[in-house]
């Protein structure tokens, strides 16, 4: 333990690190040269990373081939618990290593899908998403860490996968999947996992998989329920066979509005990873033609038999009209009357529902408070939202029960001013984002409260423009 011995030990370590760094650089150079040798047209350099993925799957195996079965010693050790499974074994593991899988969406479903597919050793894993990590994602999107809040989800997800398994090829697609780029991206993969959160993307991805003849592992989760099936696989139905007509917009709930228990997409995502592994490795019986329905509250999983491929299906039927050209210009958001991005929802899409005179900004409302104007603030959010946070003094009367409780507003207004004054209190209405409050004001104005005003932009505007300490959710 003398100081000399210690410093020479340090020097050794530093020398060793330097030596390894040089070796690492050499290896990286060799990898780049080998990658450059792969047949690639010069104009494809823009898609360099993406085009590498599938073609390189084989070289991962070839470059290090040392044992007769095609698995490297590192692969044998790393995946030994797979190889020990009589129903899986070397062949299935090799099939995995030769497969390329695209995960669309790096959210609640995509997190476990990507983590399991990376760790299990698929040859190439691509992830598409154009979103950034937000703090309120982390309770369910378990692939992302706090340090990545504000950064691209794809970067975060790929870094997490790379940290787990450096043997596999990882491809970042930091863009939103649209009809214009979907064919190019999806065509580079063998299997597609739909881990998106919206209806138009689901139709678009299914159509694209039919056109390119790719199996599609489709999962969905909301609230305390989840659903899972495999489309366009071994003669089974596609999404349109099951749902030829999109549902009404009001039936399309989103996690950002309706909530979701974090573990529910986790369960469905894990099962999606399982189905993807089965399709890729060729083992077992997939959920093609069947649907798994998960109810977290009652701990029940139901597997149901669904209809087969429809001969009349416009995407995969006998006289299907869908072509790649039609696909590229098809407007899925218009078809489903529903946006692909969640962010659009936070804008006030009903901004012209009530007249300007029936509206007030959050700042002006704050002025009224400062002027001690006698008033009642009616919060029309559901009761469980009101319990999360509310402006002090506001009264909760959810929009859904507004009409039958309209008389209680009268008494609240009367109680707000001293009886003798003869003045009338004003009535302001607030909700989370300023949409429901407009519906409420419209209803109130028809039901004896002609002066009711809605606070533009709701509590989000209040938090943004008046009270930054007011929690948003």
């Amino acid at each position: 333990m003398d100081s000399n011995g210690m410093s020479s030990g340090y020097a050794d370590i530093i020398r060793e690190i330097e030596k390894l760094k040089v070796e690492k650089e050499e290896i990286e150079n060799r990898i780049s040269k080998l990658e450059a040798q792969l047949d690639r047209k010069p104009d494809e350099t823009a898609h360099l990373e993406a085009s590498q993925c599938c073609s390189n799957v084989q070289t991962v195996l070839d470059g290090h081939r040392s044992s007769s079965n095609g698995l490297t010693p590192e692969m044998i050790y790393r995946y030994s618990r797979h190889l020990l499974l009589p129903d899986f074994g070397v062949e299935a593991q090799l099939n995995l290593a030769r497969s390329s899988i695209l995960v669309i969406g790096a959210g609640g479903l995509g997190s476990p899908v990507a983590l399991y597919l990376a760790s299990c050793g698929v040859g190439c894993l691509g992830i598409v998403d154009d979103d950034v990590v937000e703090l309120n994602n982390l309770h369910r999107q378990v692939i992302h860490a706090e340090a990545y809040v504000g950064k691209a989800k794809v970067k975060s997800a790929v870094a997490a996968c790379r940290a787990i398994n450096s043997l596999i090829k990882l491809v970042e697609h930091n863009e939103s999947l649209r009809a214009s780029n979907a064919l190019d991206i999806i065509s580079k993969y063998d299997i597609v996992v739909d881990a998106t959160d919206n209806l138009p993307s689901r139709y678009m991805i299914s159509d694209c998989c039919v056109l390119l003849d790719k199996p599609l592992i489709s999962g969905a989760a909301l609230g305390l329920e989840g659903q899972l099936t495999v489309y366009h696989h071994k003669g089974g139905p596609c999404y349109r066979c099951l749902f030829p007509t999109p549902p009404p917009t009001a039936a399309c709930q989103r996690c950002s509005d309706s909530g979701v228990l974090g573990v529910v997409p986790g369960v469905i995502g894990c099962l999606q990873a399982l189905e993807a592994i089965k399709v890729a490795s060729g083992i077992g019986e997939t959920l093609s033609g069947r649907m798994l329905i998960f109810d977290a509250l009652s701990s029940r999983i139901r597997i149901v038999k669904i209809r087969g491929r429809s001969l009349q299906c416009v995407a995969c039927g006998e006289n299907a009209e869908l072509t790649q050209q039609k696909f590229r210009s098809f407007d899925y958001e218009c078809f489903t009357q529903s946006p692909m991005s969640d962010r659009v929802i936070s804008l006030s899409i009903f901004s012209t529902l009530v007249y300007e005179s029936a509206r007030i900004s959050a700042r002006l409302y704050k002025d009224k408070i400062n002027e001690h104007e006698e008033h009642v603030l009616l919060d029309v959010r559901p009761a469980h939202h009101f319990r999360i946070t509310a402006i002090p003094g506001s009264i909760n009367l959810p929009l859904s029960v507004l009409v039958e409780n309209i008389s209680s507003i009268d008494s609240a207004l009367k109680a707000a001013v001293p009886e003798a004054s003869g003045e009338a209190a004003s009535l302001y209405v607030v909700c989370r984002r300023g949409n429901d409050s407009q519906r409420a004001v419209e209803c109130l104005r028809k039901n004896g409260f002609p002066l009711a005003k809605d606070i533009i932009g709701g509590l989000e505007a209040w938090s943004r423009d008046v009270d930054p300490s007011f929690p948003i959710y």
């Binding site: 959160d197 659903q227 099951l242 999109p246 009404p248 039936a251 329905i293 139901r302 149901v304």
Partner: protein, 99 residues
């Protein structure tokens, strides 16, 4: 006819958030049989408490709703014309899109 009806994927919200309903449905057609068509009409009248357009469109379920009789898609057994039997389990489930 005794049936077990289940609502999922948010359809339970249309019937006071109750998911499972054990019901006795009177036979409607003169033949003494009950078709899915009759059951849907009965459900709409007796169980759906709000926004019926979120459950039905015309005389069938709205787009995006799967109907499963004894864990099997009703499309495989005749859809609206399917004949129900005593103690059948009928599930109405709205497709989810979240993630």
């Amino acid at each position: 006819m005794h049936l077990t009806l289940e609502f999922g994927g948010g359809l339970d919200l249309l019937c006071q958030s109750v998911k499972i309903h054990e019901v006795d449905v009177p036979l409607m057609s003169e033949t003494g049989k009950m078709k899915m068509r009759d059951l849907l009409a009965w459900v709409r009248t007796n169980l759906i408490k709000e926004r019926p357009e979120m459950f039905m469109k015309g005389d069938s379920v709205r787009p995006g709703v799967l109907v499963l009789v004894n864990d099997c898609d009703w499309e495989l057994s005749g859809g609206l014309d399917m004949e129900l039997e005593e103690k059948d389990a009928v599930v109405f489930i709205s497709t989810l899109h979240g993630g």
